[in-house]
């Protein structure tokens, strides 16, 4: 039995530590710990709720839009503000472009090096690489000369002897299975994706002034004026530029990302049997298609238990609870109502520097959220499963095509590999869909509707003296909720439950493992000193630790499910 510590887990956002017991070449038990705390909810108390989105947005710079969206929705829910149709569409565009870009970055820059051996690419034959590339896609950058150039650049880089971020890694590890040509192809696309993500996210500069940390959100709407006849507004020039960017996104996603995922996956089919985890999936749903109080959502909400795709339950946020038994917070002696509750951080772990966490006691800054007492996985896999189980036609087609090309059944989805495939399927789905919102914006402007804001609710004098609100959002990494309590025009309490809290949280009060911990069980580990396989399963969730750590109270939530655009 060896005790493996991976800290820092790299190629993620934030600070994550994994401790695992490895025996007989497999993980026998695992503990997930988040090792950073800021206390943003405490900082929000007493502030203007119209400012909250800018504060919460800085919870994470990778998922730079998500906490802003959830925040404005929670405040709008509290004060009764109704964003006009243009604001809903602008937000859909911002959310979808975030998801598309974030998923591509995750695959190529955060996850690929778990599967792709960069050093092996030096042995690739450019001609065979070209043949491989052209056999899976008609992406134009596929000539022998092109891959010879990439190989040459890589060789010069290695020959210089300064390997930088690629130094000291696990190259040559027996778990790497790709032939050299597939490795070279992936290295080429790693570099192409670096440029592509930078160019595509100009969508956010058009819609939000800048990325990261867009600056166009407002409680009650958006700050981006729309007017086809003004140069200082989103106009038809902006529409044309967005359409150009979305067209290129579709091309990259369908001709590079999807073929690469399928090609890489075909060498790692055994990972469709690894990393299943808790088998429960929760989705709040996203992309409102109308401005009704309960609008139809492009991606539906729901809960799946025990991998039962045949039964999607409706979601009830009142069933969400949190445990702090293994988290560095004071245990609540008297459970307070969530609206008024407060949990205080209290570190009881080993004094740094330390070698081991006390995993039998408290061991993480994350809490353990539970739905109806059960741990839930959230994220792209959950969204695709709930959509699949709810009869979403396009999702069923895309998932079916991917499964068929790999020659596996739907059970393969409940795995490390399933997470990677679902993330890619979602990206294709959104890349196909996003233009409909660009068109909706153009059509609405054409009708003469230039409203971007519910101005009647801007001034705090129009608000109730005391109000509670909840805002939900499907972030790239999964179900996100913000809860706000406003009193006399300022924030009395603010809480977030974040995707990575759901996925990366520690054991709960009844010692049930969180999704990371459960997914790591039985993960093969060839060499405990080189825990590559642990990284594969953890990275498949796309960890975002800065998001996960929050002071939230809560024994029991009784918060209405309300959605606003």
């Amino acid at each position: 039995m060896s005790h493996v510590v991976v800290d820092p887990v790299t190629r993620i956002e934030g600070h994550l530590r994994i401790e695992a017991e490895v025996d007989g070449g497999q993980v026998q038990d695992a503990w997930s710990s988040s090792t950073m705390f800021r206390g943003i909810e405490l900082i929000l108390k007493g502030r203007d709720p119209r400012d909250a989105w800018a504060f919460t947005q800085r919870i994470c710079g990778v998922c730079t839009t998500v906490h802003a969206i959830a925040s404005v929705r929670s405040v709008e829910n509290a004060i009764g503000a109704k964003p006009p149709p243009n604001a809903r569409v602008l937000r859909n565009l911002i959310m979808a472009s975030q998801c598309i870009q974030d998923h591509v970055i995750h695959f190529y820059h955060l996850h690929a090096l778990d599967w792709v051996d960069v050093v092996s690419a030096l042995k690739a034959d450019p001609e065979k690489t070209s043949a491989l590339a052209q056999s899976i896609s008609d992406w134009p950058l596929s000539s022998t000369k092109y891959f010879a150039g990439v190989k040459g650049r890589l060789k010069d880089f290695v020959d210089r002897g300064q390997l930088g971020p690629f130094a000291n890694a696990y190259w040559g590890h027996p778990a790497y299975k790709l032939p050299p040509e597939a490795n070279l192809l992936a290295v080429a696309h790693y570099l192409e994706a670096l440029d592509w993500q930078r160019d595509f996210i100009r969508m956010h500069a058009i819609l939000g002034g800048k990325n990261p940390h867009l600056q166009s959100f407002l409680v009650g709407g958006m700050a981006t004026p729309v007017d086809p006849d003004r140069q200082a507004s989103i106009n038809m020039g902006s529409v044309a530029r967005m359409k150009e960017l979305t067209a290129r996104a579709r091309e990259f996603v369908t001709k590079v990302y999807l073929p690469d995922v399928l090609a890489v996956a075909s060498f790692y089919k055994d990972w469709a049997g690894v990393g299943g985890g808790v088998g429960n999936y929760m989705v709040y749903g996203e992309y409102p298609e109308t401005d009704d109080d309960k609008p139809p959502l492009f991606l539906p909400s729901g809960v799946i238990r025990n991998k039962n795709l045949g039964k999607v339950e409706p979601l009830d946020p009142a069933k969400i609870t949190e445990s702090v038994k293994h988290s560095w917070y004071e245990d609540g002696a008297t459970p307070l109502h969530p609206r008024d509750g407060e949990t205080r951080p209290r570190y009881t772990g080993p004094k740094p520097p330390y070698e081991r966490l006390e995993t039998a006691a408290k061991y993480s800054w994350l809490k353990s959220p539970r739905y109806d007492g059960e741990p839930m996985e959230v994220g792209p896999l959950s969204r695709m499963l709930v959509a699949y189980g709810s009869g979403h036609k396009r999702v069923q087609e895309l998932v079916g095509t991917a499964l068929k090309s790999l020659g596996v059944g739907p059970e393969a989805l409940f795995s490390t590999l399933g997470r990677i495939a679902a993330r890619c399927v979602e990206t294709v789905l959104l890349a196909e869909k996003i233009d409909s919102w660009v068109d909706a914006l153009a059509a609405n402007m054409d009708k003469g509707d230039l409203r971007i804001h519910d101005t009647g609710k801007w001034d705090p004098s129009a608000w109730p003296k005391e109000a509670y609100g909840a805002g939900f959002h499907e972030a790239p990494r999964g179900a996100l909720g913000h809860w706000v309590h406003i009193k006399n025009g300022v924030i009395a309490n603010y809480q977030c439950i974040v995707p990575s809290t759901w996925n990366a949280g520690p054991r709960d009060g009844s010692e049930k493992r969180g999704p990371y911990e459960a997914a790591l069980l039985k993960t093969p580990v060839a060499d405990p000193k080189q825990p590559l396989e642990i990284l594969r399963t953890v990275h498949s969730f796309d960890p975002c630790m800065a998001c996960g750590v929050h002071v939230v109270d809560v024994q029991r939530r009784e918060l209405a499910r309300v959605r606003t655009a």
Binding site: C60, G61, R160, H213, S216, A223, Y347, I452
Partner: protein, 378 residues
């Protein structure tokens, strides 16, 4: 490769990039610094002789927003930075190695190249709970920062959290978060690239400046490069004429808003924020916050989460600014015209100077401590 021609010259030749094309690129770089076009040749010569310096990028109480911003860099692109210009030996968000192997990479730099590497710090450094609010590999952020920044040839604090404590240090600063200047006093050649996040164009420009001139740029009183922090947003704002003419947005989406009028009444902090957003803009010059219709929130200034909020109150009412005007008298104030407006600027300039007078002197910074207040609680 001979000593007179660095690896980059060979690299450029191999890739078929002519000196003419390099000069074109360098002219762009020179433009970012506001240097004359003649400087392009000097930059090009320096770049082709550059060796690959080591960079380590530390993340503490951060959101990775500055890392993401850095990924948006186009001149040079992040691929060029990572593969060609610098040896990025430690950066948790992009490096292949994890855990023990990652720690070894960082320790290797500190041990084998003391005084010869550049450290970039992203995120604030918590001092509460004996450092337990942020640990990496079981070590506290403060411990790591002291060792690594203490051995670095220069430290770049990137983003407002690393610079002044930023969001975690906002009242009531639950974790005792500090910026680098306050957490690790006396760090050699500290450069602050504030803003939330720092603009990729400025991160890139600072690195190219150093690679070219082998020194660091002149700084203001908050140790920020003058090439990016020498003027206020207001000085260069494309909507300045509307301010001077008294044309203001009054309501989100109104005719003035759609027409690009001044956002001062909606809370714009451009008049008291030193940053080059209006000229370099964001995401390859695509846009910037005021360009998309939202006021500047002052994110490059110390303690902006406390001093610039509420964000939607206009400046004279911001606590701590004892300006003569109040929200109700702005209209009257403006009827006096541009002269009164400039008097208003005088008031605001005075506030800026009381916080730390920008230094206009040229030359690299010495090993002095910070001159601006940074990171403390309000």
């Amino acid at each position: 490769m001979g000593s007179r021609e660095g690896w980059l010259a060979g690299e450029l030749r191999r890739r078929g990039i002519s000196r003419r094309e390099l000069l074109f690129f360098c002219a762009g770089v020179a433009g970012t610094f506001g240097l004359p076009a003649s400087a392009a040749s000097q930059i090009a010569t320096a770049l082709t002789r550059a060796k690959k310096p080591i960079l380590v990028w530390l993340e503490f109480q951060d959101c990775a927003g500055n890392t993401e911003s850095f990924l948006r860099s186009s001149a040079p692109s992040v691929g060029e930075v990572v593969l060609d210009l610098l040896s990025v030996d430690y950066h948790e968000t992009i490096m292949a190695a994890a855990g023990l192997q990652a720690e070894e990479a960082l320790n290797g730099v500190v041990k084998n190249a003391p005084g010869q590497f550049i450290a970039i710090v992203e995120g604030s450094i918590p001092t509460g709970a004996d450092g337990a609010y942020c640990t990496i590999g079981g070590r506290s952020a403060l411990d790591i920062a002291r060792e690594v920044c203490g051995k670095a040839a220069a430290t770049i604090a990137v983003g407002t959290c690393a610079t002044y404590g930023g969001l975690p240090a906002a009242a009531p600063n639950p974790t005792g978060a500090l910026g680098v200047a306050d957490a690790v006093p006396g760090v050699k050649n500290l450069i602050n690239l504030s803003a939330c996040p720092a603009n990729a164009a400025n991160i890139a420009a600072l690195l190219v400046y150093h690679l070219t001139y082998k020194r660091w740029p002149p700084l203001d009183g908050f140790r920020r490069p003058l090439f990016a922090y020498g003027k206020t947003i207001h000085d260069n704002c494309e909507r300045r004429a509307h301010f001077d003419a008294g044309q203001y947005v009054e309501s989100w989406g109104d005719d003035a808003h759609r027409s690009g009028a001044c956002l001062y009444k909606m809370g714009c902090k451009g008049p008291v924020t030193y940053q080059n957003c209006p000229t370099v803009r964001w995401n390859d010059g695509t846009n910037w916050p005021i360009g998309c219709g939202h006021p500047c929130i002052g994110c490059a200034e110390p303690d902006f989460w406390d001093r610039m909020t509420p964000f939607y109150k206009h400046l004279p009412d911001v606590p701590g600014f004892q300006a003569a005007s109040s929200v109700d008298t702005v209209g009257a104030w403006l009827t006096v015209g541009a002269a009164a407006a400039f008097a208003g600027h005088g008031v605001l300039k005075g506030i800026q100077n009381s916080r730390g007078k920008p230094e206009e002197s040229a030359g690299p910074p010495g090993d002095r401590g910070p001159t601006g207040s940074a990171g403390g609680q309000p």
